[in-house]
Symmetry: C2
């Protein structure tokens, strides 16, 4: 298979691989494959697949909705969602979200890098920024929404009683959700508010904790 300029640069200029070197490949569908370098050029190259090294591991049908915060913490949330096993990542604009746009391509590259680093074979799609109200308006109620409600500081509910199936997790920005947003969320049948313990967590910490709790109760960590 032929390589793109970026891939050739990384393998042959950065990693300094030559013909005959072994490389692990994944395309998001067919698991991990072992390949051999056949041609190594400055801007191009070719690999030959030798065989499958590991089966495809898809995450459960879990989406993460989060309000983008500062650059480093937004990067971090995308990385952790990819590592902990989310199928799709939806940045959403809430009333207290400062971000007007996101670098979708950069965040998608972060998700890819997280999968590569952790020997994953699945890269979650990172969607473009959308207003939370619009996302909720078009929501399929068959997908339940676990809402990290920062007003519920206290013992974390156990998620063990919830039923498996398509889910999403919603994490707010610093400052939480506005009162109209909270009223809207409370009025939606598919929304389950949840506490994340007796301490107030930053948005990135809340995302990690909520995904972990969901994965261990309803996901593929069971």
């Amino acid at each position: 298979m032929p390589l793109t300029v970026d891939q050739a640069h990384y393998l042959f200029a950065v990693m300094r691989l030559g013909a005959g070197a072994r490389v692990a490949l994944f395309n998001g569908r067919d698991g991990e494959w072992t390949a051999e370098v056949v041609e190594a050029g400055k801007k191009s190259g070719r690999l030959r697949c030798l065989g499958q090294a590991a089966p495809q591991l898809d995450p459960p049908d879990l989406w993460l909705l989060f309000a983008p915060i500062k650059k480093e913490r937004t990067d971090f949330i995308v990385e952790k969602a990819a590592e902990l096993g989310c199928a799709k990542i939806l940045p959403v604009q809430t009333e207290f979200t400062n971000a007007q746009r996101i670098r979708q391509d950069r965040l998608q590259a972060h998700a890819l890098e997280a999968a590569e680093q952790c020997l994953g074979t699945y890269v979650p799609e990172v969607c473009d920024l959308q207003p939370l109200a619009a996302v909720l308006k078009g929501w399929d109620p068959a997908r339940r929404l676990l809402w990290g409600d920062e007003s519920l500081v206290g013992p974390a509910e156990t998620l063990a009683g919830l039923s498996p199936g398509p889910w999403a997790i919603l994490i707010g920005p610093e400052g939480g959700f506005s009162e109209p947003e909270r009223a809207r969320l409370r009025g939606l049948d598919f929304v389950t508010p949840v506490s994340l313990g007796p301490r107030i967590l930053r948005a990135d910490t809340a995302a990690c904790a909520a995904i972990t709790l969901w994965q261990s109760a309803l996901g593929d960590w069971r």
Copy 2:
């Protein structure tokens, strides 16, 4: 109460507070207090306590042992351990740990900042770097040790069957533990190996996930 030079600089030069302004105080023992600025100087100042705003919230008796990794990720682990509720943080040197020393003062300041940001009233002590072997040698077996064993990639065990009490969590460096370290850990009665799901996690992700699982099963998130 009198302020240090750093505190006065932060309140009066950075935050530009003046006499009469309200400030939230905590000392790690007596909860959160509301205070008023009485004197605001360039390098000094005085506050007067008005009353307690929130009771002290101590974390459960949970320690985090981790092998320091790259600077940003080490900072991150300390921050998340403080937010998620650890009582003490012990950086440990394993065979595959590159770090020979840590900036203990900087990490302690990170733990303090995390508590301030999250309206916490407890700051976990960050110990200096110690060899894992020495820590295990002096270990009180009454404290159980939950070992994030990266060889156990698969369904995460439920922690619900474990007994409460003093615990610690051990997270390895990138590259995991050496075979002699693994044999040592497997031979210790107070050690419980645990899987953190079917994906390989970075050390910082593993620390967040393990603390979350422990808190929800055995800690104060119940």
